[in-house]
Structures are given as C-alpha cells and as structure tokens.
C-alpha cells in the first residue's frame, strides 16, 4: 500500500519536473543565484553585466592591511563600478559564521574569508550548509586537499610563519628553538591566545616543528614544551603591532604576509623590526578559506568576486587601469587586470594556485625582502585533520602551561 503511494508520488513529481523542464526554454534558465559556475551564470560577460547592474559587493572581515586585500578591493571597485563594503574588518572567523547564521538580509555578506579551523561549521551535520557551491574557472588548479569537492568552500591563500624580531636584541634569532635563550628573557611571546586566534595557533605549530616535532604535525607537544620553557623564564608577552612598536615585545612568530604592514608602522615609531624565516623548518599553514554565502544578497557580485580573487592573470592594478580600459566589454577588461591570486603573491602570502601558476609562468614577484633560507625545509601544509587533533592538545594544556 505504502509502496504504491510512494510510486504515485514519485510519478507525480517526475511529471511535474518534466513539465517545468519543457516549459522553461534554455535561454531563460539563467538564475545567477543558483549558478554553480560561470557557464551557468551565462558566461563571464553576462556575469559582469549582472554584477555591474547590482552595483554592490558585501564583504566581511577582510581588512585592507591584511594580505593586500586593500588593493584587491580597489581594483574590483574601479573596474566594475561596484561599491565594496567590508563589515567589521578586524572581526573573527566566528563572527563571520555567526553573521551568516543570524544577521538580517541587509547585513548578510556575499562572500566570506575564514580560518581553516571553523570550516566545519559551514556544513552542520544534518543541517543546511551555510554556503552555496560554486566552482571558479580555475577550479582544477586548486589542490584537492584545499577544497570541498562539491564547491561549498575552497582555499584561497596560505601563509608561512616567519620570525619577527627587534634588531636591538643582543643576538639575531634564526630558529624557533632560539626563543628559549636566556638573553631574550621577557621579550618573547605569541600573537594571542592560541585557543582563540588562528595566527597564535599556527605559531604553536611552527614552534613545534622547530623544536623537534617536524615529523608529526598533529602532535604539538614539542611546541607547547618550547613555550613552556620560555614562560618558565618570564610570562609570554603579546606580540602585536602595538607591543612590537613600543619594544614591549621583541620576538615571536607572525604571518609573513603581514610583514609589509607591520615593519613600516614600527619604523614610524623609531624601531627596527626584521622578519626572517626559521633556518631549519618553516611551517606552511593550512590556507584561509573562501565561500559564497547561501544568503548572499548580491548573487552576481558574490560570484564575480570569486572569479576575480581566483584569477591568475598578470596585469594592471587599479591605478594602472585607463579610462579606455574601463570601456572594454566585461571579459576583455577582466583579462587585462591583475588577478587576486597575484595580489596575494605580492603581499608574500602563498596563493592557493601557486603551483599551477609557477608552471604557467603567471606568478608576479613577491614584494617581501626576505626569503626562505636554502637550509630550511618547508613543512606542511598541515591538513585539517592534523590541526583538529593539535587543537585538542592546545585547548587542554595552554591555560595551565
């Protein structure tokens, strides 16, 4: 009986679907809000046309001085005549997730940029995903480990942990194990609480591989031991812009891609800061993640933004675009602009498609004046599974270190 009813229902559904399919002609089938790639959005020209018409792109927690985001915003605004707004630039990844879950439509972001440790929250078990699938034109160049196979999220850019130090230190630190040297007592620290800050979390991982834990990224006990040894001499200081610029903090790990923002600020305060990569093991951290919000208010811009951020083009920045360039049809204009991946590259971050781009000779030079030493071995990137195991270790022992 029940089976019969099911079949009847299934038939009805099939007929309904059939009717819809027949009734909708192919050309009118474009619904950009449901497009899972540029083809479904009617091609790049159509997408750009729709994006210009919307005129707005709502971003969240992408500060201008982080990984060159400011230059990317500027290029996007100028080229497509779209107003880019950034809600709570210095907010956390958790803030982004909470906003997607609870904010009213007018406050919803189009696209998010979150840390790898909160990615699992995009797909709550048994619930509806918070993001919507989309695969950029260059999808195949994103390494498989750094993307969701259905396109719900995808790695964007990664960073390596560099050692930041004040040149007034009695000697030049070259590796993580140096942190525990007595001559640095009282000046060594971490960017924040590793149980809540991603950069601080990765600093513990970087300390771990520099202190004998390079074989196993999921076990950070060596990193915790190193910070414990530092703390035994004096409490850890907070390594942030202010404390570096006042000389309160003089040594710690930091993202390489924030060096270009930190060094000039300290110089203005009269202090000389230097960034170096550890001479033994350098941690390649898991990438930051991009995704389109399922509730994105500007469907076309949400998608065009992904295409732009994942564009591998070498080309013109905002300042170099001429009035004539701006009159070009959408896809031609897009082709002559420098893509987002190369903006990340300039900041010293590692664009997620750097391997493919190196092969295609599309990478522009980085603006950083420090390089990974030839003696050093790059470890990683750590997988999500690794960092989740490490997280439990850090949460259970950091407070009582």
């Amino acid at each position: 009986m029940r089976a019969k009813r099911l079949i009847a229902a299934a038939t009805a559904a099939a007929v309904a679907v059939g009717i819809v399919a027949i009734a909708t002609p192919a050309t009118a089938a474009i619904d950009i809000c449901k497009a899972k790639n540029v083809k479904e959005a009617g091609g790049l020209d159509n997408l750009i046309k729709a994006a210009k018409k919307e005129g707005k792109l709502a971003l969240i927690t992408t500060p201008r001085d982080w990984a060159n985001y400011g230059a990317i915003h500027d290029a996007y605004e100028k080229a497509f005549g779209v107003k880019v707004t950034v809600d709570n630039p210095d907010g956390s990844s958790q803030y982004e997730i909470d906003t997607m879950k609870t904010a009213p439509k007018s406050k919803q972001p189009d696209s998010i940029d979150i840390g790898p440790l909160v990615v699992a929250q995009l797909t709550p078990p048994g619930g509806k995903p918070l993001s919507t699938p989309y695969k950029v034109i260059n999808w195949n160049d994103i390494p498989n480990a750094a993307k969701d196979s259905t396109g719900l999220w995808y790695g964007n850019y990664g960073g390596k942990l560099a050692i930041v130090y004040n040149t007034t230190l009695p000697s030049v630190p070259t590796k993580a194990a140096d942190f525990a040297k007595p001559e640095y007592k009282g000046f060594v620290g971490i960017t924040g609480d590793p149980t809540s800050s991603n950069q601080a979390f990765m600093s513990v991982l970087a300390a771990s591989i520099g202190n004998g834990g390079e074989k196993n990224l999921s076990d950070v006990s060596k990193g915790l031991a190193l910070f414990k040894a530092v703390k035994a001499q004096a409490p850890l200081v907070k390594v942030n812009g202010t404390n570096l610029a006042t000389g309160t903090a003089k040594l710690g790990f930091m993202w390489d891609f924030n060096a270009l923002g930190i060094i000039p600020a300290a110089k203005a305060a009269g202090l000389d800061l230097k960034f170096v990569y550890p001479s033994d093991f350098v941690l390649q951290a898991p990438p930051y993640i991009n995704a389109i919000n399922a509730k994105a208010p500007n469907c076309a811009n949400a998608r065009l933004w992904q295409e732009f951020v994942y564009s591998q083009n070498k080309g013109k920045t905002a300042a170099q675009l001429t009035a004539a360039d701006l009159k070009l049809p959408g896809s031609k204009l897009f082709a002559l602009m420098q893509g987002g991946q190369n903006y990340f590259q300039q900041s010293g971050a590692d664009p997620i498609m750097s391997a493919a781009m190196t092969k295609k000779k599309l990478l522009v030079p980085s603006l950083l004046d420090f390089k990974v030493p030839s003696t050093a071995k790059i470890i990683g990137p750590a997988t999500i599974a690794d960092v989740l195991t490490a997280r439990e270790q850090i949460i259970s022992s950091w407070a009582s270190l």
Binding site: S92, L117, V118, F187, D193, S196, Q233, A234, L236, K238
Partner: protein, 299 residues
C-alpha cells in the same frame, strides 16, 4: 455624557483599578520595559541557550564542561582577582574618601570627584598601554626603579601575570571605591558625632559603636561592586595576556569570538550563567547585613 452616566451605575472597581494602575504602575512602565528588554529577557535567553546542545536539544553537557579544566581554573582566577583587587582597594579607598569628604576643601572634593570619575572608567587597551609605558619591561618607571637598584623584571614579574594584572586593576578600583563610598560618608551626620560626644563618648567609642556599624553595609556594598568590576573585567586583561592566565571573561570571549574553537557558543553561554550565579551568591551576605542595619537605622 451618556456613557458616564451608564458607567456611574456600575460598581467602580474597574475604575479604581485603572486609577491605581495609572498612579502606581504607569510611571514605572518605561523603566520596567527597559529592565525587561535589556536585563530580564537577555538573562532568560542566556539561561535557556546554555542548556541547549548544538543540535538544539536539551543538555547539561555545557555545565559539565564549564566546571572542568581549564574553565575551573578560570573561575578560581577570576574570583581571586575580583576579591584581591576589591580587598586591596577597599580600605585605602574608604579612608581616602573619609578624609576627602570631611577634611577636604570644596575645591579638592570637586577635583577628586572629577578625577575619580575619569580614572575609574579608564580600562581596556588605553589602560594596558599606559601601564606598558610606565611599568612595562621598557617602561619609564621601570627604568627609574632600575637606576635606583630595583630591577622589577629580574624575577618572573610581568604585567600579564596575576600580580601584574592586580596592580593594573587597582588603578581603576581605587577611584571607583572613592566614588561609591563617598555618599555614605556624607550621610554620617555631624549631629550624631556631637550628640555622642555630649553623652560622654570619646572618638574611639563613637567609631566603634556608631560610625563603623553605620558605614559597614555601604562598605560591603562598595566592596561587592568592586568585586564585580574586577571579576568581570575583560578588555584590559585581553590586552595584557595571551591565555596563560585563565580568566572566565577571556574564556567566554574566546569561545564566542575566536578563530579556533569549534561551535562551542553554548558553552560560552553556560560560563556566563555561572558568572551570574557567582555574582548573585556574592550579594546574599550583603542583603543579610543590609537588613540588620536597616533595623538600626529605624530604631
């Protein structure tokens, strides 16, 4: 006119109620709305959510986790810093308030009142920065002390340690004590001390039998306010520490607004509920003392 006549025939209980409502309740409605909306509703909601799992089912798990490590140490440290900073600030603050109010010129009193108001509200990153500049490892005062032969940083001292944080908290706790305790001093009437003297009491007798018992409830109330301010301070501690000194407000912040923890929002809310319970427990002895002193004041 007609309607009045008809109503006039009916028993006037409804109108009496309306009158009493207008007289007694209506003026309080704006306040009740504000209290309800900004106080009772959030607390109710907080308690409700703290019993929810991530799947929105009822659970005690959040509270089970909340009383385990590292959160237990967080509570112990937060209570400790609240009690210590309040205790250290309360006595000198009370004595200072007494001398300012009774011996100070009106100009001094006004100046102190304004200064205390500003200092008691100094907190967060600016306060942390001020202390780094003064007592930080590169601080000015640190250098002066060092030149005098006392190296603050020879041991394990740091502004991010418990002692360091305590010193920083005193900076806003002392003026806060002066602000909240001064009205109590003012309410000690000169006539009482004169009357006591006329009846043969000396200064000591007056304080033991009249002054201190009358000031005691206000002192405890001020102490509790200081405790609450030290117990729940967030921004200053956040600027000075990196998670090695577990404090509940920081742990809640990490859970609600971190980049690392995974969907433990409701645990953060459970920690918040425990904080409310601790604050409520601290008020109970005050209520007992208040009741006794009310009896004295009437008698």
């Amino acid at each position: 006119m007609t309607s009045q006549v008809i109503e006039g025939g009916a028993p006037s209980r409804g109108r009496a109620f309306l009158a009493s409502f207008i007289k007694n309740i209506l003026p309080a409605v704006p306040l009740l709305l504000i209290v309800g909306f900004f106080f009772l509703f959030p607390i109710g909601r907080l308690i409700y959510v703290s019993f929810m799992s991530n799947e929105n089912t009822f659970t005690f798990d959040n509270f089970k986790t909340a009383v385990q490590e590292p959160y237990r140490t967080g509570f112990v440290n937060s209570i400790k810093i609240g009690v210590f900073s309040a205790a250290i600030a309360a006595f000198p603050g009370a004595i200072a308030a007494y001398f300012i109010e009774t011996r100070g010129s009106s100009k001094l009193r006004r100046t102190i009142a304004v200064m205390s108001g500003v200092l008691a509200n100094t907190g967060g990153v600016p306060l942390a920065f001020m202390f780094y500049a003064a007592l930080g490892i590169q601080g000015y005062l640190t250098k002066v002390l060092k030149s005098l032969g006392w190296d603050l940083y020879s041991g394990t001292f740091s502004l991010g340690s418990f002692i360091g944080l305590l010193i920083v908290y005193l900076y806003f706790q002392l003026p806060l004590m002066i602000i909240v305790f001064s009205p109590a001093i003012v309410s000690l009437r000169r006539e009482w001390s004169e009357a006591a003297r006329n009846l043969g009491a000396n200064q000591f007798n007056y304080w033991i039998r009249i002054g201190i018992p009358l000031l005691f409830p206000s002192f405890i109330a001020s102490f509790l306010l200081l405790f609450a301010s030290g117990f729940s301070a967030y921004a200053t501690a956040n600027a000075l520490t990196v998670g090695n000194l577990p404090l509940t407000p920081l742990q809640i912040g990490g859970l609600l607004d971190g980049n690392v923890s995974a969907a433990q929002l409701n645990l953060g809310k459970a920690l918040g509920v425990v904080m409310i319970v601790i604050s409520a427990c601290a008020v109970i002895p005050y209520l007992a003392i208040q009741r006794r002193s009310a009896k004295w004041q009437k008698g």
